[in-house]
Each structure stands twice: as C-alpha cells, then as structure tokens.
Amino acid sequence: MRHRVIDVNDVVVRFAGDSGDGMQLTGSLFANTSAIYGNELSTFPDYPAEIRAPHDTVSGVSGFQVHIGNSDVNTPGDYCDLLVVMNPAALMANARWCKRNAMIIADADAFTEAAIRRAGFKTDDPFTELKVDDRTLIVVPITTLTEESLKETGMDIKSVHKCKNMFTLGMACFIYDRPLDYTLNYIEGKFGTKHPEMVAPNQKVLRDGYNYAANLQMVADTYHIAPANLKKGLYRNITGNQATAWGLMAAAEKSGLQLFCGSYPITPATAILEELAIYKSLGVKTMQCEDEISGICTAIGASYAGSLAVTTTSGPGLSLKSEALGLAVMTELPLVVVDVQRAGPSTGIPTKTEQTDLDQALYGRNGECPLPVIAAHSPAHCFDAAFNAAKIALEHMTPVLLLSEGFLGNGSEPWLIPSMSEYPEIKPPFAKALPADGKFKPFERDPETLVPRWALPGQKGFEHRVGGLEKNHDGVLSSDPANHQLMVEERAAKVQKIADFIPELRVDGPESGDLLVVGWGGTLGHILSAVNELRAEGRTVSQAHFDYIFPVPRNTGEVFGRFGKILVCELNCGQFANYLRTLFPQADIIKCNKVQGQPFLVSELKDAITEAL
C-alpha cells in the first residue's frame, strides 16, 4: 500500500496509559529519536502522584506529551495530533487534549467491559461517550499483536506485555516518518548494558508495530517533519533537574570549591539530589538528611567550612527551611536553595506544576530578611540559572533562592552542549590578610559591593564567631538600636547592589508601545508561542521575561515606562504582578493567571493578550 507523505511543520504526540505501561519511556524514546533526527522539541511528562494507582483507573493514568517540529517549538503543545491510549482510563483522562482532526490509537484488548466501567464510562462506547468518535480511530489489539510478535521467544507473559509500548512506538514512528534506525540504536543504548536480553525483543516489537501500521488501511497518510535549522554542534537531551545539578557542579568547578548538597527527597525536586549523588568523581558530596531542616543546616555548616553549599527542595520543604534561611542571611554565608515548585498549598498536587512559591521565596522569613531570587525559564536554562545562582551566592556572600518548576524539572529539551571555557570564573571574596590590629572582622564590608569577606575555619589567626544574633562589623554581639538598623540596611543594600551585576531586561519586539507581555520562569515558551502566533496574525506585541526576580534588572522601571500596559502572565493568583505593582506603582500592571496545576495553553495566552491589546 502506498501512503501519501504530507510535510508538516510540527506535530504533538501524547502517549497515555496505566502508570505501569511504560508511557514515560515510550514518550522519551520518541522524543530522543526525534531530537537525533534533528527536530526541535519540547516534552511534558504528566504523571500521577501514586506510584501504582489501582489498575485501569483514571487516577493511575500516566501521560507523556512530545511536541516536535522544524522551527519555533517553545512548548510541549496545547493539543495533540496523535493520542495513544493503552486503556479506557487513559482515554477518559486525555480525550479532551485531542485536536479536532486528531488520530487516536487504542489497544482494543484493554477495552474490556470491566475496564470501561473502571474508567468511569456510563456506556459501552467510550469514544462516542466522549464525543471523539469523529476523530481517526485506530482501535487495534496491541496486546495480542505483541504476544504474537514474541511467541517464539519463550518469554513469560509479564515480560511480553512490558514490550507492548514498543508496538505503539513503532506505529507512531511509521505515522510520523521517523527512521527506525535511530530508535533501534536508542533501544540498544538504553537497555544494552543493564538489560541486554531486552534489546532484541523490544527491537522486534518496535519493527512489528512499524510494519503493522504500514499495512493498516486506516493509516491513510503519514507525516514528515523536516529537521529544524539548528545551530551546528554537539547536542544532548537534558531535563531541568539534571541541568540544575550540572549547573551547580559547573559553578563548583569554576570556583574551585567542593560542592556539598544537603537535601531530603521531595517531589518534584528529588532528581537533583539523585543526579548530584552520581558525580562523586567530580568531588560532589551529597547528604540525604533526616529532614528538610537538616538539609539546609548541613549545607549552612558546609558553607561555613568553605564548600559551595546547596539544598534542594519543593514548596513544603522550603517552608521548613525558612528559619535556617534567615540564619544564612544573618551569617552572610553563600548558599543556593533550589525550589522546584509544585501545586500547593500544603501537600497540594505534588506532581503538578505551579509558580505559587514566589511570595514565599521573596518574603517567607522572620525579620528584615532579603535574599536574591532568580528563576529558570526552560529545562536547559536550568543549567545557566543554577550556575548564576551559585556565582551570585559566592561572590556576594548571600543565600540565593533559585526557583524552578515541576514543568521544567521533569521536562526536557535538546541542548547545544556548551564548553566550560564559555563560562566565567567565580571568585569568592576570601579573607587573605588580617588588619593592623590582628583581629579579623567578619562583617566589615567591601565599600563598593558591601560584601563581607569569607574566612574559613582552619585559617590561622582568623578565628571568629558567627550566628543568628545581631552583631556589629567586628562580629561582636550587639543589641544597640542604631547598629541593628545599620546592619539591616547594609544587608539589604548588599543584595540590592547585585542589580549592578546582572543583565538588563531585554524587550523582544518593539521597544515601546501599548502592551508589554511579561512573565517569569517556565512560562516563557508558552508566552513566546502566543506572541509569535499573534505577530503572524499581524498584531504588534512586545514581550519581556524576568530571569532575575529580586533584585529586578536595573532598567525595569525605564522599560515599563515605555509601555501603556504591562500584562503579567503567571501560574498563580498574581504574585509577581503584585510585587511589580509595589516596585513600580506608576505602571499600569494587569494580570493573566492560572492555577490548575497545568502549564498555560498558548490559546489561553493569546486570548488574554488579545483582550489586553
């Protein structure tokens, strides 16, 4: 059968099944092979908090969305062109994400009467019930076909069923004209060393799935997504959490310090600790502590002893670390605190993404307790954001809060591998010479930057005491009213002066106009897509994104002054907008907010921007 091959700019594929169906792996394989093929891409794992929720229930559905294209792929995509569902529950949970002309591949074997009931359908026809019966439905017995494919191997039925995701991957590869070589090699690389026995069966099922789709009457057309015009060089895929870990390690290398991470497992930040724990060969010391408080306190101790100290967490963990953050501010020790934000308050929805910890990051401590807050805007950008957070912490002697998001931490994208020669040296202000009186003064400041010097235990003659009690410049306890005010003001001014060391705010589009669309953190991709689509439709829109939240770039007020309105888009109830209103009361700041544990849809942003224009 000859298929028509249609060239398209981009497609969105969503794989969904039970938590045990291997959908995260299937999605990653599809993404990786597309990356190697040369496409731009963005991924979005959408998985439940339960490790193995009851079989065939909606709460146990795990999804992985991949957006591939030949240019301008900024987001994982709002709606999908192909939805793969391994059971009725996956259809129930994901049908609403299908485009009008989408294709749905379903495993017919899984659509038993019992499974249909367990998924919560009221009728026997899930497709009609969800009103997706007008899409291209490819309901085929994937489980039976996989069993058939592997019947000669003598594998047990459980292992055979673990390969059925490869059958669907093979089908998807045929439909989107993915050369199988990439996927076959990838399977070899993935299973080769640890599970060599799994290579051949997975490759066979993949090929059989591919060929099955090729022979299917229902697959009339296939689609080709040409490689993107990417910058030349060596690439790798990287998740935000991995990039965060690597950025911190890069900062340790550039500062010549040992990296110490004290942490406690918490979704969705745990992967940073896991990643750091691997790289002992780069001198990384990790400590899985007894609790979040110990995570930050061991890091503060390590910082005092001269390490690049880090603690990683998510919102509830940050709450527990608040008091110790104040101690780090008071002792003026370098520290990086990474908060991979998730839906709150309290335990909230741990596996879903949000930007609701901004207020906590800015204000969540007792006393006058300012510390720099910076944010990562894409999975790969987590590398630079973590590097910059560490550089600021070490050179300005302050704890720094780095805000990431579940969406960024778990998401991945291809990354043009940098060379470490492109990154600056990091130079902590080590105390080198004692003053004339022979006494080290731990809070005497550099007159330019207001940064105190760093003397490390073990350094002869620099013995001194630090702690949570207020002190004077000499490091002597003081409850003198004027000294307290002076020290409070100096600590704040030290942080404010960091604005002189960070890049200015850059406007994308016209430098002045009626509307500036503003965001921070992981919303950048969606905002860019929305703005680009509106521009393609003939609208004039300017856009600016904040990587540095506190202090804000020096030119922020001046930029805001050039626009009639500032539309702040964020995944919370308006925390950044409120903050900007306080800083720039003269600016007309309006809000676009969403708090559903999900990223923005590009369409939602387009609507909000259009309304504001």
Partner: protein
Amino acid sequence: MATLSFKDFKSDQEVRWCPGCGDHAVLAALQRALPKVSQALNYEKERYVVVSGIGCSSRLPYYMDTYGFHSIHGRATAVATGIKVANPWLTVWQACGDGDALAIGGNHFIHAIRRNVDINIVLFNNQIYGLTKGQYSPTSKFGAITKTSPYGTVEPPFNPGSLVLGAKGTFFARSLDVTLPLTEEIMTAAALHDGCSVMEMLTNCVIFNDGAHKSISDPSFREDRTIVLRHGEKMIFGKNHDKGLVLNGMGLRVVTLGEGGFTEEDVLVHDAHCRNAGIHMMLADMKQPDFPVALGVIRDVKEATYDDGVRDQVKEVTAKSPIRCMDDLLRSGSTWEIK
C-alpha cells in the same frame, strides 16, 4: 608547634551566664581539656570549631577563642555535621542543652549518633528551659512543677544516655558541673574517640531549677550516690570504697563488700569498649535511690565514621571514573551532532 594553654581558648567576650550557673565549670573544663587534646593529637588552635544551638549553654562558642557558630534552636547537630562532612580535618565541638538537643533538635541528635559523625557533643542537662525562664524540658523529672506545669508534669523524661545508646551511639560519658577534673577527663577521652561522642553534663540552673542534681552532687554524699566508671577498673564506689556493682540475673545489683558473701572478686570490671551495649545501657539507666548514678566514660567503641565514609567514597569513585571535569561530563553519554 607552640604549646597551647587554657588562656589561648578564652575569648575576649564577657561571660554572661548567671553567677553560680553550672555552665561556667563546663566552659572551664573545655578550655582546660583542649590544650591537652592539642598536645596529644598535634592539633593547631585554628582546627577547632565550636557549634551551638539556642539556649543558655549555646552561648558557649562566644567564650571560646576558636572558630564558632551559634546557630538556631535544635539545629547545632545538623550544622556541626555539615562542617565536619565538608572538611573532616576540622575538629568539631558542639554545645547544646536538654531542650535544644532532645526536644526541638531530637531528630538531628539521634541521626548524627546513628551515622556516627565524628563530632563531640557536650549536652548540658539542667532539666529546665532556662533562657525562656523556667519551663519543663524533656529531661525534667516526672511531676516537675514549672511555669508550664504548675500542677506537675504528667510525662516521663528522657534519659539522654539510653537515648544515645538506643541510637547506636559509640561514645557516651557523663559528668557533673561540680566535678571539673572528671569533666576535663571525659572531654579529653571524647576528643580522642573517632566518632560521635556525647557527653552529658549534669548542670545546675541556680535561677529556675536550683538543686536539680543536688541529690547526687552534694559533696556530703556524692561518693555514695554516684560511681565513676573507668575502663578496666572494678565498679566500686562509696565513701569507704565498700560498695560494688554485680550482675544479678539479667540486671545489676548494688552489694556491700564483705556482706552477704560478696567480695571484690564478684564486682564487675568496666569494659567501655564492649560492642554489646547491654551493660552500658543498664549503667546509663541507673538512678537513685536504688543505684548510684554512673559518671565517667560509659561507652567508647570504635566504628566507622560517616565523614570518613563520605570522603573515602569520593576517593574510590574518582579513582574509577573516566569523568574528571565538566567538559567530560557534558560530552558523556547519549549525544548527537548537527552538521
């Protein structure tokens, strides 16, 4: 290296504890013990870091002319752990109180002991919250009348010794504020111990819990109500050296030598290095009026330390790994080239 004296460890800060507070004596003992430790181990002064939490006793780092870190309530153990793991070359001492280490900081305390981090913890136990002016603590006696227990507490106290041994502690010793030479002796032993050393100091709070330990510390009967344990020596005590501890079934028993057929032969010999903590636990648990309170080094056992483990693992993995720098790492694993 120049010989250090106790004056080298005295800072220029005015000591602000109440006159008569037991903490003064513990500070003096530490300032006297560290020169000896320095001599024995060839340690320079800059090698010492003294860490504390919050409470009266936690002011101690300000009075020591060493590196010092006065942290936050309960967290001294975690800060001390971070310092030691980051730089195992440093000698880390920790001062903390019964409320600080056993209530708000209980979690860090037991886990540092379980991990056997090589830090020296001086636990000041005055059985009261002093700095907040007189509330009961986790070591206050059952029924203690304090500002927050006007009708007496209805909760039993922790015995720090059994807590330490229960958490697999490798070193536990006890002393009284009034027995300064013994305090100095156990501090020196703690410094020589590789691993987490806990020293319980039974201290008096003259203002809010005066006489907390008087029933054992008063010189007129101290020798009859306490026993100083020393490794390899018979467990004999009493003003007249006529009382001893013997095994009695599964427990201990106090006997008078020469009575009931008991002689010195029957008395237990203290073995602080015995890995089995059974007898150490019974010794740590002894209390008046049936038993003398055990002082001295009750347990001192050698086990691998956490900080050495972390450091050695870094060395081992580094020796094997081909990834030596970030550029190696960035280019490792699955990559592809766009030409």
